[in-house]
Amino acid sequence: MSKFEVPVGPQHPALKEPESFTFVVDGEHIVEVRPRIGYNHRGIEKAAESRTYIQNLYLMERICGICSVAHTTCYAQNVEYLYEKEIPPRAEYIRVIINELNRIHSHLLWLGIAGHEIGFDTLFMYVWRDREHVMDVIEAITGNRVNYAINTIGGVRRDLTDEAIAKARKVLDILEERTKYYRRVAAAEPSLISRVKGIGILKPSDAVRLCAVGPTLRASAIKSDVRKDDPYSAYEEIPFNALSYDMCDVFSRILVRVDETLEAINIIRYCLDHLPNGPVRIKLPRNPPAGEAVSKVEAPRGEDIHYVRSDGTERPARYKVRAPTLGNIPAVCDMLTSKADCTVNIADIPIVLASIDPCFSCTDRAIKFVDPRKQKEWIWSHQQLERYSRRKANP
């Protein structure tokens, strides 16, 4: 059978975001993957250099709408490192609570999307219905559903109210029950399992070699979690487990995320029980001292790393963001390429792509990746392809 290219994206139902992957397929099997990223490149790093530190908070929030609070936490923390100041413990705890709520929302969202990608729309609808509970709590605490605007340099903007705490506790109970239910479904539903088990294998050695991060790495039997390895905020004081599964496939990525959701519920409960009293923010001078700092946060998708360089003015000299998805791109290309011992089908593309929980808006202040191997078979060039599909009967 002749080889044949299937473009996925930039507008494709499997990708909620404009990225483009070109798959070279042989029948239903994928032999090569060539991603083209950059559709989402907005030039945030350049923009950050022309805004003040406070203004940049808004920009960082909007790097990614799903893990927004991870980016602002990372940013605020980074600038606080520049000042060499600690923020009040209550603020640290509130940050942890919001970060974990965000993780729950993100993982549930992902579980729904994963269901949708394998044509299991009922799961999608159910999970998203329950996810609305988290959104309610987040809205009660921060006032917003998606971009929370809770972090500020030197602490958080809003304190937790008693009603919000009561609401959070109630919702956590519902969520725990529902998440456990989904865990049972995931472990028992045969048509679901048949689509995810043994699919998208990423061997532990490859995961380390290609520098995968977050749940993708943890699903390949490597216990690596920034919250444990490089504890920030209040994570040093909070007891929790870093999880890992060793099946290295999509199924194991599902289990890691579902279990992390349960773990996050426990973390929030602990934080609510041990919430210290005191102020929630400190005042810091307008301009941080000259210097540089690196800050890392475990975003729902993995390690999020920011670097800041200050020259003592009110604007950063350089601000660098590396979001988790970029770190996982080489890994997902590896997962999607058929190897001697396992083949990958077209039908598996959506779920495998989704299994790293891609978030290209974060990633794309950057990147395109082309497999350097040259294909000898007949292939249409990108321009040909575009011209071809742009042709219409009535011009």
Partner: protein
């Protein structure tokens, strides 16, 4: 009479094609949330379609980046007439917080014609439904 029936059908059956031109995902998840049980856009007959050939309403989220510009124009071309474009969120309406960045166009309307704007960063699902309803009212009116 015939036109009346067609107009009625158009307002009752807006099929959406969702395109992200470089958004931060916030608007996208809210667009998706509008389809889920709590909001359920299907009540209005709206369903999400994958192929631009099937769509009536192009729902665009996010600032238009240089690289995505050709794609959005092409998808807009692929859709059969009559077609409508909704810009969801501040970025899509004006460039939002990214206005002035070197890779971002100042709003979706600088690339394709837009019929309705939904403000917010991101707009809540209720606002999105309201925006779609406003578009339908516009179709009904003229």
């Amino acid at each position: 009479m015939k036109l009346g029936l067609v107009k009625w059908a158009r307002t009752k059956s807006p099929w959406l094609v969702h395109f992200n031109t470089g958004a931060c995902n916030a608007c996208d998840i809210e667009v998706l949330a509008a389809l889920t049980p709590r909001y359920d856009l299907e009540r209005f007959g709206a369903i999400l379609r994958g192929s631009p050939r099937h769509g009536d309403v192009l729902v665009v989220t996010g600032p238009v980046t240089r690289q995505v510009k050709d794609r959005i124009v092409r998808i807009h071309e692929q859709m059969p007439e009559p077609k409508f474009v909704v810009a969801v969120g501040s970025c899509s309406s004006s460039g939002g917080v990214f206005r002035g960045c070197y890779n971002v166009y100042p709003g979706l309307d600088s690339v394709v014609p837009v019929d309705a704007y939904i403000g917010g960063c991101p707009p809540k699902p209720e606002a999105i439904i309201n925006g779609v309803a406003a578009l339908l009212a516009k179709i009904r009116g003229g």
